[in-house]
Chain length 147, copies 2
DNA sequence: CTACCTGCAAACGGTTTGCATTGCC
DNA sequence: GGCAATGCAAACCGTTTGCAGGTAG
C-alpha cells in the first residue's frame, strides 16, 4: 500500500481540464484519484484507490468523488461481483470484462452487441420505452487457474 | 407484508422432492421459501422473501437457505444493482432482465447470445481458459416512467 | 440418534452522512 | 468571499457468523 509519487507533467494539465470541464474544482485529491483511474488497465476497488492515493483523500471522500465522477460521466461503476464496487476511467469505448473467479484477474473484451440486444429486448417486452444502460460481464477461469 | 396462507396440494409434494433431490431436508421454512421463489415472475429481494415467509424462517436463515439453493442450482442469484441481492427460481432457460431505473419494474427477456459472445471474448484475451458464468442485465425506463 | 436446520443476537464490512473546517476560483 | 471539497467520526444497512436448542430422516 505505498503512496504513489506525485504524477506530473503533461498529464496533469490534461486531467485538470477533465475535472474542470466536468464542473469540478481541481484539487490534489481528485487529481490523484483521476490519475490513478486513468493509468489503470482494469477497474479498481475503492480500497485500492484510497490506499494508492494515500493521505490526499480519505476513504469517505474517495466514495464521494467517484460517485460524482460517475454521474459526470468521467468514470464508470463496474460490478465484478466481489461484494464491493469497482470504478474505471471512462474511455469512450463500450467494453466489458472477463473475470477469473479464482484469482480475480480481469481483462477487457469488446463485442457485446448491445444495440442489437437492447433492440431485441425492447421488442420482446413491449412495456419498456428505452434502454439507457447495461451490464455484461463474463466469469470464468484464467489459464493459470484452470490447470 | 402479510404472511401468505400455506401453499398446499400437488405443488407441495413437488417442491419437497426438489429439496430432497438437491440434498436438503424438507422443512416448512425452506418449502415456503422455495414456493415463494417459484411462484414469482421476477427476482425477489431477501427482505421481500423474508416478509412473505413470515415466521417460518428468520432473515439469517433465509440468507443461508438461498445461498444453499444457489449452490445446488435450484435458485439463481441476480444482480439488479439495487444494493442488495435478488434471487429467482432456476428454471432451465437462459433469460435476463430489463429493469426500470425509475420504478424498479422488472421483466425477462431472452436472446443474449451468450455462447457466441463468450467465444469471442475467449479469442480476444487468450489468457482465459473458459467462461463458466455471466451477467447481463439491461437498465432503462418502462413505458409509464418514460412519459 | 445425529446431522442438518433454526432462532436469536452480535459482529462485520462496505458505504453513507453530519458537521465543522479548509481552500479553490 | 462563497461555495465546493475535505477530514473525522459516527451512523447505516445488507449480510454473515456463533452458538445453543430443535427436528427431520
Amino acid at each position: 500500500m505505498s503512496v504513489k509519487p506525485q504524477y506530473q507533467g503533461a498529464d496533469r494539465k490534461q486531467l485538470q481540464s477533465v475535472l474542470r470541464d466536468a464542473g469540478f474544482r481541481s484539487t490534489e485529491g481528485r487529481l490523484a484519484l483521476l490519475a490513478e483511474l486513468k493509468q489503470s488497465n482494469k477497474p479498481l476497488s475503492v480500497e485500492i484507490l484510497a490506499s494508492h492515493i494515500g493521505s490526499r483523500l480519505d476513504e469517505a471522500n474517495v466514495y464521494r468523488a467517484l460517485e460524482s465522477f460517475a454521474q459526470a460521466g468521467i468514470a464508470r461503476r463496474v460490478d465484478l461481483q466481489h461484494g464491493h464496487v469497482h470504478y474505471e476511467f471512462a474511455h469512450g469505448d463500450d467494453h466489458h470484462h472477463i473475470v477469473c473467479t479464482s484469482c480475480d484477474k480481469v481483462e477487457d473484451f469488446a463485442g457485446c452487441e448491445y444495440d442489437r440486444l437492447a433492440e431485441t429486448a425492447l421488442k420482446q417486452t413491449r412495456n419498456f420505452a428505452k434502454v439507457t444502460n447495461h451490464s455484461f460481464e463474463l466469469f470464468g477461469l484464467c489459464n493459470s487457474c484452470a490447470t
